[in-house]
Every structure is written in C-alpha cells, then in structure tokens.
Amino acid sequence: MDYFYLIPLALVLGGLALGAFMWSMKSGQYDDLAGAAERILFEEDDRPAPDKPPRESGLSSNTN
C-alpha cells in the first residue's frame, strides 16, 4: 500500500480537469469556436471577452 496516495491524487487531478471544463463552458469559451479560430490570426491586440459574455447577462430585461 506504499503507493496508495496515487489513487486520491489521480481522482483529484481528474476532478480538477472536470472542474476546469465546467468553468470554461460556463464562462462562454465554447460559444464561438469558429470565431476563436479566426481571431487568433488578428494582428492588433484583441480585447478579451467582457467579464460575462453579452448573451448571458443576468440583468437583461425587455423594455417597453
């Protein structure tokens, strides 16, 4: 049982990867895959997406 610590370690690392995926999906990084592939070629500095992608904004309300 000398290497027992490897089991929780593996699970934690896997869990971290899962968490990272969940986070990246929630923050809208998969919303425009085709666009991201093109933007990397732009020469000038591209600003990062706003804190929250526009479509997700919780404050949205229809007027009128």
Binding site: G14, M22, D32, L33, S61, N62
Partner: protein
C-alpha cells in the same frame, strides 16, 4: 478582404434596409448601467476578415461600447449607451456590404438544455474512465482487500455521477411511465439503476462482481448519442432563426391628435390609421385610404407579378408595399388578420394529421416488454432450478444489464446525426429526426409555384437594344420596384456601364422620369409613358421606355425559375414519386410551367383548398411531401406527411416546414430525399445489429455466465459497431464544383413566359 461581402453596389440593389429606429429600440434590451444591447443577425459573415471589418466599423460609431461578432451563429451583439435613438447599426453594416436584420431578443436566451447535456456528459465521462481504471485492476486479479476497496471507491464515484448524469433519462422515463407509456428511456433507467443497486449490495457484502463500470459507461455512451442528437436539431434551429424575419414587428400609427407613434402589431386596433412606407410589409389586414403604389402579394396569394393598389384596395397582412407610401386603415386586429388565420388553419391541419411514432419508440415498445419478461422468466427458472434467491436475482439482473438498449439507443440518433450533417453541408436544415424518417416514406411530391419553383425575383425576358437597356437600367437603379431590379440585374449581366443621371423622379404606380439633353425620358406603364396618339401598345410589355412620349423600347418580364428545376423534378420522379404543382396563381402561368415540366397541376387553389387537397391525398394512402414558401401554403405544409420550404419563405411557413433549404437550387429536394432514404436503410441495419447482439448475448446471460468484464466488452463492442455503421452513410457530399446557376438559359429553354398582369 476581397473574399467577403458582396460589393456595395450589389448590396444596395438587393436589400431592403428598412428597419426603423423605433423597431431597433423595441428589440434591444437593457443590460444595466445605461447600456443597451442589440443583437443583429448578419447571415453573410463567413471569415475572420468579416469579423474585423464589422467590429471596427461598429466600434467607430459614437456611443457604441462594444461590438462583438459571433462567427458560429453569424450574429453581432452591440452594446451601446442608452439614448433616444440607437446609433445607425444597420446602415453602417449596409455601407460595408453586410445585410443585417433584427434578432428576436426572447428567442436568444442561452440554451440551457444543451449546457445541461454537455455537463452530464462530462461528468459521466470522468466517472466512467476512472471507474473503468479500477475495474481493469480488479479484472486483472486484485487481492480481495484491494478489490473491496476499489469497489467502494467506484461506488463513491458512481453514485453522484449516476444522480447527476442519469437524471436526463430518469426524468424522461418517469414522464412516460406516469402517462402509462413506455419509451426507450424506461429500460435504460431500469437497467442502469438495477446494475448500480446490485453492485452496491455486492460491495457491502464483499461480493466478487460489481457492475459500476457497466452502469456508468452505458450512461456515457447514451449521453453521447443524446447530445449529438440535440446539437443537430439546435444547429438547424439557429440557422433557420438567423434568416430574415418577414412579419412586421410594429407600425407607425397616426393618433387622434395627429402625432405619430410606433405601436407593436398586437396593439393595433381596427379603424387605426397606419402610415406604410415603401418597402414595408402590411402589419394587419387593412384597406388603402390614400396613396398609390404597387403591392407584392407573392408570399400571401402566390400571385407572381406586382398588383396595383389605390384607395379602397384591400390588403392582407404580410403583403409588401413596393413603390409609394400608403396610408391604410386597419380592418382587423393582428389576431384576426390573414396571418393569424393561416396559423389557426395550420393548427387544425396538424391536429388532423395522424400522429407519427418514431422508429425508436416503435422498437422500444416491442423491446421493453420482451426484455423484462425474459429477465422475469430467468429469475423464475433459476429459482426452480436452484432455489437460491440471491443467485436467481443476480442472474436476472445480469440479463437486464446485458439487454440494456445501449446499441438500440445509439442506433437511430447516430445515423440521423450523420444524415443531418450531410444535409447541412448542402444547405438543408432539418428540424428533427422524425422528419428524416417521414421523408424517407414519401411517394408524392407537391410543389407550390411562386417562390418555390420560381424565385421571388423577376428577369428581363426579351432582347432589347443595349443603349435603351443602359438608359433604362440607369433610371431603374433609383427604384426598388421588382421590374427595376430586374433591369439593373440585366445591365450587370450584359456588363454595360451605367449612365450618371440626375433629377430622376418616381411616380408611384406609374414609373420613373428623367431629363437627358433636353429630352424627357419615361420608364414605366405604357399608358403613362406614351402619348395617347401612340396607337399600338404591345400587350405583352411590362414597362416601356419612351422619349418625349415616343416608344423607344419595351421590356417584358418573367419569373426567374429556380436553378435546376427540371433536373430536380426528373430526379424526384426517378425515385418513384408522383409530382404535382399546386398554386394560388392564375391558371395561365401555372399551366405554361406545368406543361413545360410535364407534370400535372392545379391553379388558383385557396389556402383551404391546398390543405384539403393534401388531406385528400393522405386519405387515399399517399405520403405527401409539400414544398412551398407562401403564407397560403402554411396549412398545406402542416397537413403534409413531410414538408420543405426555401429560405426565402415566410416566417410561419419556415417554422411549419420540417426542412428548410438555403441555396437557390431546387436540387435540395431530391438530395434530401436520397439522404433520408439512405439513412432509413442504415437505421434498419443498425436495429438489426442491435437485435443480433442481443440474440447472442442474452443466452449467455440467462445461463449465468456473464461477468462484469463480458458485460463491458459486449456493450461497448455493440455500441461501436452501431456507430461505425452509421458513419457509412453516403449520399450527396458537399459539391465543390456547383455549376454557376444559369436561370436565364433554363428559363428560355422552357419558354415559360409570364403574361403581363394588367
């Protein structure tokens, strides 16, 4: 960027940049801090250059905080500081050659279901791979203590994953059971839950066999199928949603105190006076009070040539005002207008259509009872043979696990996803998998004429002197009348350089007038442009060009046929389908086209008549595919076994149709039918494979020889075979060398001449 965006000239000639500021404001929403957001759909975005061009052009506008292009959905989100009027987004985009239109703000909510499915998929993938790691260690031969510990760790991973990822299936199964029905999710849920429950029991009692890996990897495989299926439908839905909306959102109403107000369509009451500028659609059924113009009724009645409108003419909601501003008085509310009436008829037609049960549901209806009965008989058999309850239950559950319809659950969606992708590459959007199944059964195809077999634009039909055409086209460039556009297109086709003309005036309903070198030129109706002394007016002429009242040239027009009409009809017939034309247009043009194409026809059919005819055909046992675009086709689209609409169709027709094709070519119809038939064949093969797997595996399970290792290999193996088979789907691949459409050549070969309407 030379690759993107049509030239500005072309964009000006073909678009209707008529979205009022009020409408933009109505469609935008507050996102806090005095910032508003507007979402525009820009279908022609297609490369990185477009992103840069659009973002820099919009960012340069005053009060624009940020513009962000989404290349996948072909949308632009613009955030701007709130003020009375929005910055001129649409005009800016028009100037750089992109046609933009408004997106429905409500329909744009972030897609929760897909996110949920992908999360469930990620969790089950994580759990399945880890549990499989432990299981392999056990299968290789672990000491009992290690095995027990690994079982416990697997149980700890499996339990939350099962609850989180499995609820997709459990919910659907529970809904079905509550309504006294079964679907594919019922045997799936039972299998997965029993496998987990038995494994937990074995773990607690330090047993040898635990099926944690089987139960979670089952979920993983099935979630892949479910997610792909959903993404396919979602992509088609967004693509269709991205098309221009044709129904008007509101209208400019003259109030009692003489001021104007922009009211949403739903607030318009009968008796209200509405100002209808040229280029706008009629919001509700109305009567013309004042003004003179021409009206495009193609989407509403199927009439292909523009109709004159003067005081007293009745208009239906959805008609397009072409030339002059009109003052109209509403005669019905939006709820009682033509459009709403079509919607009601569509619902009636849909209710009358027999409910279609999908192949997977039909299969599971047979499958579930058989499987559950087999498990029960196995239990009884082992009880009689050995009297050992634990052993009998274990083996009965093993039967349920091995028959858990993993391959069956993947058999249908995998094929349909591949088929939908094939169709997508050819510019055909399919709403759901059941449409594909229904399309494969078609034996009769009914085409609408206007807008379906023909395009919604006109074409110059006769040969004219180039100089006259040059002058006429240069005058016509100042008008958006369909005849004018046809002239402008004809000039471009013949590569004539336009003249620079000043002082052009348009008389609505009559024509255009200009002065060159002291002479007065008129382009328009013969009785307006020519002197009364001009005795002979050619009857086939659409418009004439006159110099000081003397006839210079006549121009006649015909509907431009959709590319590949003849080939498409031949291909559809060669697939064993009967073809018919059914139109709301007058008898003459319909007959000419039907005779040229060699198919039977019905002309002057009312919307009710269309839907009734489809119902009659269905009652006679025929499976009808309706291809149509107009509002008047909507009830027929809903009544048919399957339906298709071109991208240029009315909103309602597009949402009523099962498939929408984006390219001009009518070849989309035979292509879609071929793909559907191939897909249907593969689905049947896959179902056979899944059943064949069970025929082999079930006896092994009944005899009690199934171990977790065998279960894992058998189930993954059968799933992979089914997936591999689905990928074989052939059919039309993306055609890189699509021949340039030659509508002119096709049309003249058919000598299909539209007669002048007046």
């Amino acid at each position: 960027m030379s690759c993107c965006g049509p030239s500005a000239e072309l964009a000006l000639a073909t678009t209707d940049p008529h979205i009022a500021d009020e409408e933009l404001l109505l469609a935008s929403r507050m996102v806090g801090d005095g910032i508003r957001q507007t979402d525009l759909s820009v279908p022609s975005i297609h490369c990185g250059g477009c992103i840069q061009k659009i973002e820099s052009a919009l960012d340069a506008l005053p009060r624009v905080e940020q513009a962000r292009v989404n290349l996948s959905t072909k949308r632009v989100s613009i955030r701007w500081r709130d003020d009375k009027t929005p910055p001129p987004f649409i005009a800016t985009l028009e100037n750089i050659g992109y046609h933009a239109h408004l997106n429905d703000p409500d329909a744009d909510a972030k897609d929760q279901t897909l996110t949920e499915l992908i999360r469930a998929l990620a969790v089950s993938g994580f759990a399945a791979s880890n549990i499989m790691g432990f299981s392999i260690a056990i299968w290789v031969g672990a000491e009992p203590e290690t095995r027990i510990m690994f079982h416990w760790i697997s149980a700890l991973i499996a339990c939350p994953a099962l609850i989180y990822s499995g609820h997709v299936f459990f919910q659907s199964a529970w809904r079905a059971l509550r309504h006294g029905q079964t679907n594919m999710d019922v045997p799936i849920s039972i299998g997965v839950l029993l496998a987990f429950g038995m494994s937990l029991y074995e773990t607690i009692n330090h047993g040898v066999h635990a099926y944690f890996d089987a139960s979670i990897s089952l979920l993983f495989f099935l979630l892949i199928g479910r997610t792909l299926d959903y993404m396919m439908r979602e992509r088609a839905r967004t693509a269709v949603k991205g098309l221009a909306r044709l129904a008007s959102r509101g209208a400019l109403v003259v109030q009692d105190d003489g001021t104007h107000a922009y009211l949403p369509v739903d607030d318009i009451q009968p008796g209200m006076t509405i100002l209808l500028p040229a280029g706008e659609r009629v919001p509700v059924d109305a009567r013309v009070a004042q003004g003179q113009s021409e009206i495009d009724c193609a989407l509403v009645t199927g009439e292909s040539l523009p109709q004159a409108a003067t005081a007293g003419s009745a208009l239906s909601a959805g008609m397009l005002n072409l030339t002059g501003p009109l003052t109209i008085v509403a005669t019905a509310t939006a709820k009682n207008s033509f459009l709403a009436e079509m919607l009601r008829m569509m619902e009636t037609a849909e209710a009358g259509r027999s409910v279609y049960r999908r192949i997977a549901d039909r299969a599971s209806r047979l499958y579930a009872p058989v499987v559950h009965l087999t498990a029960l008989l196995t239990f009884i058999g082992w009880m009689i043979a050995t009297g050992d309850v634990h052993r009998a239950i274990t083996i009965a559950i093993a039967v349920l696990i091995i028959t858990c319809p993993c391959a069956l659950g993947l058999a249908v969606p995998m094929v349909q996803v591949v088929a939908a992708r094939r169709l997508f590459e050819n510019g055909i959007m399919i709403k759901d998998g059941s449409a594909l199944e229904r399309l494969a059964e078609i034996d009769t195809v009914v085409f609408d004429k206007t807008g379906t077999l023909t395009l919604d634009r006109l074409r110059l039909a006769n040969a004219v002197d180039p100089d006259a055409l040059k002058l006429a086209a240069s005058m016509a460039a100042h008008s958006r009348h369909p005849y004018s556009r046809a002239l402008a297109t004809a000039r471009q086709d013949r590569r004539l350089t336009p003249l620079v003309l000043s002082d052009i005036s348009e008389t609505p309903g009559a024509g255009l007038e200009t002065h060159v070198d002291g002479a007065t030129y008129r382009l328009g109706r013969a009785d307006w442009a020519l002197n009364s002394s001009q005795a002979h007016i050619p009857s086939s002429a659409g418009v004439v060009l006159a110099r000081n009242g003397q006839l210079q040239a006549t121009f006649s027009f015909e509907s431009d046929l959709r590319p590949d009409v003849r080939r498409s009809i031949a291909e559809v017939s060669s697939q064993g389908c009967r073809v018919e034309i059914m139109s709301g247009d007058r008898d003459g043009p319909v007959r000419d086209l039907a005779v040229a194409l060699g198919v039977s026809y019905r002309a002057g059919v009312s919307p009710v008549g269309k839907s009734q005819h489809i119902a009659d055909l269905s009652a006679a046992g025929q499976r009808v595919l309706m291809v149509g675009d107009g509002l008047n086709d909507t009830p027929a689209l809903a009544a048919a076994h399957a339906s298709m609409a071109p991208a240029s169709a009315a909103d309602v027709s597009r949402s009523a149709a099962d498939l929408v094709f984006l390219h001009d070519s009518l070849l989309a119809v035979p292509q879609a039918m071929t793909v559907a038939r191939n897909a249907n064949r593969l689905v049947r093969q896959n179902l056979l494979l899944a059943i064949g797997y069970n025929v082999i595996a079930v006896p092994i399970a009944i005899l009690g020889h199934v171990t977790p290792l065998i279960a894992a290999v058998a189930m993954s193996g059968s799933s992979l075979v089914v997936i591999a088979n689905a990928l074989r789907l052939g059919g039309p691949r993306k055609d890189k060398h699509q021949p340039a459409p030659e509508p002119g050549a096709v049309a003249s070969a058919l000598s299909f001449q539209m007669k002048e309407a007046r």
